[in-house]
Symmetry: C2
């Protein structure tokens, strides 16, 4: 449907190239461009864009729609010339997210700002920040200053750490809002909490030392986790908050309560994944407690899909599915349970995790999901075909997480994310009927040189 | 796509009539019927149904899907013969509701049971019960026994009242569950609360006496509302809970807390409509407070669409839109605000309110929405075309309310509901692409004699 000469990613809902003469503005910084925002013209984030010889007209349903039409426009332009087109555009899914893990490797505000710009240019509208994990606590909370004072100094691989002071947090929120992105902060409980124990050794259980810990230490370094001391390895699932301890309840109330107060968006993510160090009954009690606190604090809880098995989870909770396009044994049932709660965000690790290796020889990235995840892997999947019982009506949206075991800085993040982030953008935004690998591959090929000249590092 | 000789309402997603011989069971009570439930076969509530000369096979994704396939099967049968068909079926929207107003005219448990059966046969899966209004309080709560002791004795038009004791409530919940329906109870606040003031005169403001009250009293009787005394008229918008009163806060906490504890489903409806007797700032504070209490009590709040204007409403709240297919001035913006919260249930009054007159000469029904609402009016609308910014991704589902100013008993409810309830069932269940008035009219015409012989009163 689209000439490959137009490098549009994600593909808009409808693109009509005309034979008319293109628009050649005399001054590239002074376009004949009219933008009208009128809610009666379509659904949320929708727009129409018309380029004629005489100039450009954007009609959008809301400011986000106008912003996305401008992103389309930027992709249309070549050497100062805009082809004559008529484009109708609207997103398939209302939640389109990217996630940065700033816990395993801390990323400064300017890196987060740059990643927001990258994601927004591809019409993503949510930035999920994984703010805490075994390797560090990354957000300053007035109620618990010890967390950043004592547990933010290091990152994975022994790299330096860091944290967002309140002014940093405000800067991130402001920049995200300016790009029509909603920030979704995550405090991961009850597992992934070794760093909590660096600040408060009394709140956590002793690490569960398994073969996985020993093998991971051998393969990647980082040592064996010890309660009260920073951990810089890659192992998962060994840490847990203590159960049935009033001091832990007070901790949960403090951190989720304060986080709710400083978060303008509707969602707070409570984690809940890979709690191998937590007894299942204790895990259920934690999930119930954490989602109840978040709901009572005026937010919609989000949790990784394992939490779906907990019958008493708050029914407004949104589930985030991280298992595979073909669910492994036992992973589908808890995820499906969100179909009748707040719905699902789909992030299948074998296609949507941007931290998977794109190339077997690169030192960047991990391989646990499917070895190498190619651009085609990232593109060729259909959200409604993954979980029985989870169709359009149950899917809130799509998210591309980027975990940072191996990603030290913006260059690493860019090399892992690009070009695969374009595939997830198209899955999240474009109509299912327009899905076509050959078309996508040609359009991405047209974008890569533009990304490179904008300074984005692409493998 | 479907031969009119098959009276299937709502139309399944795909129906293939074959030339093969039909199935003629020797004993109508002993079918050769195999039912398999296998989650891998499709989405929630989906099924396939195959009839051959040798018998019937149902393959369903879940027990609800098997139940709905049985409803299809019942519509297929004529004189003990089942035509040879292949049917694939799955719902368009996940929330498909009917509402009974048991406040203006109380309805006993057996009437609610019968209405559940009617609705479930048309593949509705939620029963919204409007349990409280100016005319009466209909559910016994241990925390507030005065509500039913003092404020449940009368109905509109001076008819007798009533209420559901806890055993009645359990009976309704059980019967609904047996028909795969989730009960959504509504306690309407801060307006529609004159009955609260009959039990607790100190909790409510004095009625706001307007021309509307006087005109309604003249047209329909029921007198002028007086604080502390039962009201049996049809007027709306005159009552309000008091603002900024700790006794009212305690009341809200008691009733929503206890209701949450005795309700198995995820939703609690807080009303919030037509609060003409409440100052707008006070109204906002009420909506914030009520939705926060419901969320903290472990439920997803639902509110009528006016509440969408309240910025501080709990973000998990689902909005129920009751204005028109062409929204009146100012009604669309608050409804649209739910697009980025819990989504919307659409109940446009001019097409989906089953209490509107079906016939200008009948004493049953009201006319305020569009005069007479015909079967064709009830059928010919598209949910995604009503509110800008509210498409498939924002619509949780569809609901057909039945307010009971003029409906005294099951016969009245049936005459108002049938056959229009079939139109709303099809809007909620069937694919948009299958929408066709001629086909629908023929199929409904095939069902009407069956409904009549089942004892349903149809005009």
């Amino acid at each position: 449907m689209t000439a490959p000469s137009l490098p549009l990613v994600p593909l808009p809902a409808s693109v009509t190239l005309t034979d008319a003469a293109p628009y050649r503005p005399a001054d590239p910084d002074d376009l004949h461009l009219t933008v009208t925002v009128d809610a009666s013209t379509g659904g949320p984030e929708s727009s129409s864009l018309q380029v004629t010889e005489r100039g450009i007209r954007i009609m959008a349903a809301d400011p986000a729609g106008a912003f996305y039409a401008r992103q389309t426009l930027a992709q249309l332009e070549t050497d100062g010339v805009y082809p004559a087109v008529e484009i109708q555009d609207a997103p398939r899914f209302r939640y389109r997210g990217v996630m940065l893990d700033v816990a395993r490797h801390f990323q400064p505000v300017e890196t987060v700002r740059a990643y927001i710009d990258h994601a927004a240019s591809l019409k993503f509208n949510h930035l999920h920040l994984h703010l805490t994990d075994d390797q560090g606590w990354r957000i300053a909370l007035d109620s618990r200053p010890e967390l950043t004072e004592k547990a933010s100094g290091t990152s994975a691989l022994g790299d330096p750490g860091g944290y967002y002071a309140q002014a940093d947090w405000t800067a991130i929120l402001d920049h995200a809002a300016s790009r029509h992105m909603t920030v979704v902060p995550e405090i991961d409980v009850p597992g992934h909490t070794h760093a909590v124990g660096v600040a408060y050794p009394g709140l956590v259980a002793d690490p569960v030392i398994s073969d996985h810990i020993l093998e991971t230490a051998e393969a990647f370094g980082g040592g064996i986790p010890t309660r009260g001391f920073p951990y810089t390895g890659f192992a998962v699932g060994f840490s847990s908050l203590k159960h049935d301890d009033p001091a832990v309840d007070a901790f949960l109330a403090d951190v989720f309560g304060e986080l709710a107060a400083i978060t303008p968006g509707p969602y707070l993510h409570i984690g809940g994944d890979e709690c191998l160090g937590t007894d299942p009954a204790d895990y259920a009690a934690f999930v119930e407690k954490a989602t109840a606190i978040v709901a009572a604090a005026g937010k919609i809880p989000v949790a990784w899909h394992e939490a779906g098995a907990v019958a008493g989870i708050h029914p407004s909770t949104v589930g985030q599915y991280w298992n595979f396009v073909q669910p492994q044994e036992g992973q589908d049932a808890p995820a499906r349970a969100f179909a009748t709660r707040g719905g699902l965000i789909l992030s299948p690790a074998d296609v949507a995790y941007l931290d998977m290796k794109f190339d077997a020889l690169s030192p960047l990235g991990l391989v646990w999901a499917k070895g190498v995840t190619t651009l085609r892997d990232a593109y060729d999947w259909e959200p409604t075909a993954i979980l029985d019982g989870v169709g359009e009506q149950q899917i809130l949206g799509i998210e591309a997480p980027l975990w940072s075991e191996t990603a030290r800085d913006l260059g690493d993040l860019e090399q892992l994310a690009f070009p695969r982030i374009g595939a997830i953008a198209e899955i999240a935004w474009s109509p299912a009927a327009a899905h076509d690998w050959d078309s996508f591959a040609a359009r991405i090929a047209g974008l890569v040189p533009r990304w490179r000249s904008a300074g984005i590092r692409i493998p």
